[in-house]
Structure formats: structure tokens, C-alpha cells
Symmetry: D2
Subunit: 124 residues, 4 copies
């Protein structure tokens, strides 16, 4: 099992089964799950709170730290998959559709090396 041979649907099924075995769908309203997602995202952020940008890049070389970060990333993804399950949202097509919008907002040529879209940079 790795990202190369696992479909999104297979991961969704892992989460779906875990939730159903515990009868947790009663708690999994979209409102609650959106809170859970934000809470787990904050726990992930906590690992980078006091370090600077360069140091945060070196986390990839720190196995103990990386293992903690990896667990938090898994938590965020679990809640994201649980929310997609509740709302019947296909994530692959959601990403593809959003990427079309993003590509229009951030054309590759004019966006090279700029994080603000061309439209906003003109204002400055």
C-alpha cells in the first residue's frame, strides 16, 4: 500500500469503515467535521509555530519530528475524507475543476516566482 498503488476511493473506504464500526456518523455533520479539520490543521501548524522558514524545511531530515508531523497530516486527511464521504464529493474531479480555475487566476508565465495573482499585483 503506497500512494502509487492506492486509489482515493480505497482511502475513503478505510475512513468510512472506521467511522461506521463506531457508529460515529451521528457526530459527523459537515459543521462538526469542518471544525475537526481546522483543529487538526492547527495541531499540524503547532510543529512549525516557533521555528523559522529555513528550519521548517529541515524537518524532512529529522526523523522524530517528521514522524509527528506525518501523524498530524494523516489526521487532517482523515477528516477531509470523512467530510467528502458525508457530502458525496468526488475529490479527484474537485481538484481537477479547482486547478482549471487556479490556472486561469495564476497563468504560469505571469505567475513565475510571484505568489499574488497578476490582477492583485497590478493594484500595487
Amino acid at each position: 500500500m503506497s500512494d502509487s498503488n492506492t486509489t482515493i476511493e480505497q482511502l475513503r473506504e478505510v475512513v468510512r469503515r472506521f467511522v461506521e464500526e463506531r457508529d460515529w456518523r451521528q457526530f459527523h455533520s459537515p459543521k462538526n467535521l469542518s471544525m475537526s479539520l481546522a483543529i487538526e490543521a492547527a495541531e499540524l501548524m503547532e510543529h512549525f509555530q516557533w521555528i523559522d522558514i529555513a528550519e521548517s524545511r529541515r524537518v524532512v531530515d529529522d526523523p522524530a519530528k517528521l514522524a509527528e508531523v506525518r501523524d498530524e497530516i494523516a489526521d487532517v486527511l482523515c477528516y477531509l475524507l470523512a467530510l467528502a464521504n458525508e457530502l458525496n464529493i468526488d475529490l479527484a474531479t474537485a481538484i481537477r475543476d479547482k486547478m482549471v480555475k487556479n490556472a486561469a487566476k495564476y497563468p504560469a508565465e505571469q505567475s513565475r516566482g510571484h505568489y499574488a495573482p497578476p490582477a492583485e499585483r497590478e493594484k500595487d
Copy 2:
């Protein structure tokens, strides 16, 4: 392209290419990406801020609202994939490993219908 026939790696590659075409890896430190993830999670939460739990479940039947929520979910997932790319974290194994821990913390039988783990409920 759908969740049933798309691997995690294929989605990661979509994000990787988008980032590289714009020379954005310079902004994509784990510190910054963890902030982005939390920001997008908050934008998702905004759709459920003032409605109650029952109403949040009915979003699945409101195509206009659901389309907005779907876009926010895609944003969260994009940043999660970008972060996994920067940190070389395999998400399928990260989820599997976390689920083993979760299953130990929340045994199915004792957790049915409870969102707090058995260990914490005993304290009350």
C-alpha cells in the same frame, strides 16, 4: 478521472506540476504550507459558521452551496498534497499507520456512539 480510478500519486503529480510551472517551491516551506492549510480549513468552516448541525447536513442537497464547499475542500487538499510533496510523506501509509493507533485508542466495541476515548470517559 474519479476517486475510484485515481491514485493518490496521480493527484500529487497534478499539484507538483502546478507548483513547479510557477516556480512556487520557494514559497512552499512546511511552515508556510501549514499556515495555508489552516487558512483554507477556516474558509471551509465559514460555510458552516452560523448554521446549526442539522442544516449543515442539508448542504448535500443544495447544489449552489455544495459547489462552494467542494471548491474549499479542493483547496485544503491541494495544500495537503503540496505539503506531503515537500516532506516526502506517503499518505496512504501515513493513514494506515494512524488508523492502527486510532483503533487502539478507540476500540470499536467500547467506542460505539461515544466520541471520547474510553480512557477519558472513565475519568468523569
Copy 3:
């Protein structure tokens, strides 16, 4: 010492002294403090994650729970004051100025019982 006889400046001074005694201004960049604020806000939210709206109102009658929530609110406020200290922002005038904008966006008469501003409600 209570909210009736404590000025904002006095609270700011409490935080300022705590930070300076520990030589922590080196960590207190606005970027880091904005992360801290979001992290503490998420910890506060955790207390309301799985309960419904009515139950969250009853926290006021649950002394043990209320004490935990009170500690989290204090954490959020500490970081907010630390950030105001770093940026030399007067909070009393910031609130007053923002309230003028809010009153224009949400005129009292048209906003009674609606959480969306009149301009947005017209679109629906």
C-alpha cells in the same frame, strides 16, 4: 482586578512584562504570533467540537468545563495582546473604527435577526 476597573493598557503591560522577563520578543514576530493566535483559537474550539449548539450554551452552567474554556480564552487574549504590543496597535480605537465599518455594513434595522449583510441577502 476585574474588567470594570482594568484598562486594556494594564492587561497589555502584564503580557509585555511576562514576555520581556523571558527574552521572548525574539520569537514574537507578527508571523509567529498570528500562528499562535490561530492555534489557541483552535484549542478553544476543541471544547465545542462534538457538542451541538444548545449544549454549547449550557457550558456556562458547568463549572469544570467553563474553567477549561476560560483558560483557553485567556491564551487567545494573551497572544492578541502580545501582537498588539509588537505592532503598536491601540485596541480601543481599532475596535471603535471597526465598529463604524460594521455598523455601515450591517445597519441595525435591516440586520435584526439576519447574520448576512443586506447586500448579500439581496443576491439570493
Copy 4:
């Protein structure tokens, strides 16, 4: 009106009146307000998302940027005051009590220049 001559209670009263004139207490459950607080904290964070730590310190010298940040800080504070109003929490004593705990966790001498408490640093 400035932080030196404004009490916390006076700011609370500004928010209380705004909420009551709009009949908004019906939306102001602690659950909803904790979400609002996290959402506004994320909007504040957005201003520091892509800049580095040094650049975030220079926001204090950029009047246009500072005005935007000031508005976001006011939003966070408004929701914090609204939540304190709903839960009848005195903020001055909440801060004082939390500071006593913080001072025990982070003794000034052993904490100079360290953001992690002594107890955690020993583990490393």
C-alpha cells in the same frame, strides 16, 4: 478613547450593544463564536502567510498593510469579547489566573530565550 483610559468592560459594552441592537444573540452560541474566532484568526494569519519572519516585523512600518492587520485584530477581539459576554467570563481575572500558571510552567530564569518549557527541554 485609547487603551490607557478604556476599561475591558467598556469594550465589552460596545460589543454587547452592537449584538443586541441586531438581535444577534440567537446566533452567538459559544460553539458558533468559537468558530468565528478561529475564522477571524485565520484571516489575520493570511496577511503573514507568504512573507518571512523578518518581513512580518516590518509590517509595523507599512501603514497600508498595518491598517488591514489592525482591522483583522479588531475582528478577533470583537468575537473574543462577544464570547466572554455569553459565558460571563471576566477577562482580567482569567488573564491573571492564567499568568500564574504560565509563570509556574515557564519560570523566568530557566525560560530566558527558550520557547519550550524546561520540563520538555529536559526530555531532548
